[in-house]
């Protein structure tokens, strides 16, 4: 029994890639190029995040429109002790942000420095990562003024 035992590398991971579908594929590809796309509904209002189907009527949607990289905070909460997984290591805010050109707010993070810099109605703009990969973590918001 002088032969060494057989070994093989084992990496715990998914062995497949997952398609994001027709809408999120465009959205995240655009995000990699530092652009934000929303989805226009039949009534002219714009959904952000974009959706393949209208959440109220179920209608199929496909008219994506570019949105501004700045918007308004509609609600927020300060995170004084971020957990390891959260997007910033220093204290920050989670906020609902309605981008200029969109009619719905979405959840993201604001790197505001301190809680007293945060308020409902404040303006924020995106700060892009040095390298964008097509993920929602490609940016965080910072106070606009």
């Amino acid at each position: 029994m002088s032969e060494p035992s057989l070994t093989a590398p084992h990496q715990l991971s998914y062995t497949y890639k997952r398609s994001l579908g027709p809408v999120f594929s465009k959205f995240f590809t655009a995000l990699r190029d530092r652009k934000v796309l929303g989805m226009k509904r039949r009534d002219g209002t714009v959904l952000m995040p974009p959706k393949e189907y209208d959440p109220d009527t179920g209608e199929s949607l496909d008219e994506m429109v570019e949105l501004a990289d700045a918007g308004v905070v509609t609600s927020w909460v300060w995170v004084p002790k971020p957990r390891r997984q959260q997007p910033l290591t220093q204290p920050f805010a989670y906020a609902l942000v309605q981008l200029d050109g969109a009619d719905t707010a979405f959840l993201h993070a604001v790197d505001a420095g301190s809680e007293d810099k945060m308020s409902t109605g404040m303006r924020v703009k995106m700060r892009w990562a040095d390298e964008t990969i097509g993920a929602i973590t490609d940016f965080v918001f910072v106070p606009a003024e």
Partner: protein, 351 residues
């Protein structure tokens, strides 16, 4: 519709941390006590349905082990939902309505103390737009609370009043985790943990389990002088994205209550499982409750929050008040998802 009633209900104490028992060991005495309470044995049960979350246990198919508490030999007909046991009850109720069963055993269980629950809850969010940001459940609830405060829908005092009421009611409960005499001013003097939420605005995190038997009229009338008849049972889900929902109301609860017929007569008792004080207010309003209703006599979710069983326990607590004659009509509520995304309403009536 077939007449179906809640005829048995048992629950474990809500504990912040079960140090010596695993999920099955928490569940076993709850099931045994249910058998003793009702006299119903496995051969009389046509259908078994459970609610739990593999994400809390941290392993896939963890719910299978729960069956060890029931016993699955000879083979039984069973199902599971990755939801609160209240939704397992709904599945069992549908099964009975379809004529596939007459007696069903339902249970919910969870041991969330094994993980970081507010962070685990981030896994239920949109996997591309929200989950990678890991918004913890308390932060997400705080976003909703601030929106309601900004809009003048409720005040921090209104929120604190719910904590005082429910923790005070819980003094009469032998399973509640957080109970006692608190004051609104005392709570408002506490620091924020996630502005505008204070510790008292949040339900505790509890390990625990509960179990229930529902049955058609023959069995129900044999077991109970006053069975708690299920007269309305509905659940509605809202869209996932926060921006397309009205976070200052619970539209899905309103619709479910309407369909269940909640507002057609007085409600003596309401048991609500909203895990944050501002959500308690939204659910009370969605159900149209006022001072005429005894709200959360058990203390509700704010006094004990066995995740994956807390909703089923609300239905059980409501049923107890029908059995003992203190309520002719009772409504129970369960919720799932962030910011009251999905809501279940169960209307119970005495004879």
């Amino acid at each position: 519709m077939r007449d179906v009633a809640v005829v048995g209900f048992t629950q474990s104490p809500s504990l912040r941390r079960e140090t010596d028992r695993n999920e099955v060991e928490i569940l076993i005495p709850v099931i045994q006590e249910l058998r003793a309470q009702t006299g119903i044995t496995n051969d009389e049960v046509d259908f078994v349905c459970s609610g739990s979350s593999d994400y809390l246990a941290g392993s896939s198919f963890a719910f299978i082990s729960g069956l060890d508490a029931v016993g699955a030999w000879p083979p039984i007909c069973e199902s599971h939902v990755e939801m609160d046991g209240a939704w397992a009850l709904y599945e069992a109720w549908v099964k009975i309505q379809m004529g596939y069963a007459d007696v069903a055993l339902v249970y919910g269980f969870g041991k969330p103390s094994m993980g970081d629950v507010p962070l685990t809850m981030a896994l239920q969010l949109d996997p591309y737009m929200m989950m990678p940001l890991w918004p913890d459940a308390i932060s997400v609830a705080a976003l909703q609370a601030r929106m309601g405060l900004d809009a003048g829908i409720y005040s921090e005092r209104d929120m604190a009043e719910r904590a005082v009421r429910d923790r005070g009611n819980a003094k009469s409960s032998d399973v509640a985790q957080v109970k006692g005499d608190f004051t609104v001013d005392g709570i408002l003097a506490d620091p924020y943990i996630a502005n505008p939420l204070r510790k008292h605005d949040c339900a505790p995190i509890s390990d625990g389990a509960s179990a229930m038997i529902i049955a058609t009229a023959d069995v129900a009338n044999r077991l109970q002088d006053r069975p708690a008849w299920i007269r309305g049972f509905e659940h509605i889900c809202e869209p996932m994205d926060f921006g397309v929902r009205d976070l200052n109301a619970s539209r899905s609860t309103e619709i479910a209550a309407e369909k269940a017929g909640v507002r057609s007569d007085k409600i003596d008792v309401a048991e609500l499982s909203a895990p944050f004080t501002h959500q308690q207010i939204l659910i009370e309003r969605a159900l149209g409750l006022d001072d005429a209703t005894n709200i959360n006599p058990s203390g509700g979710a704010l006094a004990g929050n066995p995740i994956m069983a807390v909703g089923l326990s609300r239905i059980g607590e409501a049923a107890k008040r029908v059995w003992d004659g203190s309520a002719d009509r009772a409504v129970a509520h369960a919720t799932s998802g962030p910011c009251l995304q999905q809501n279940l309403v169960c209307l119970l009536e005495g004879n």
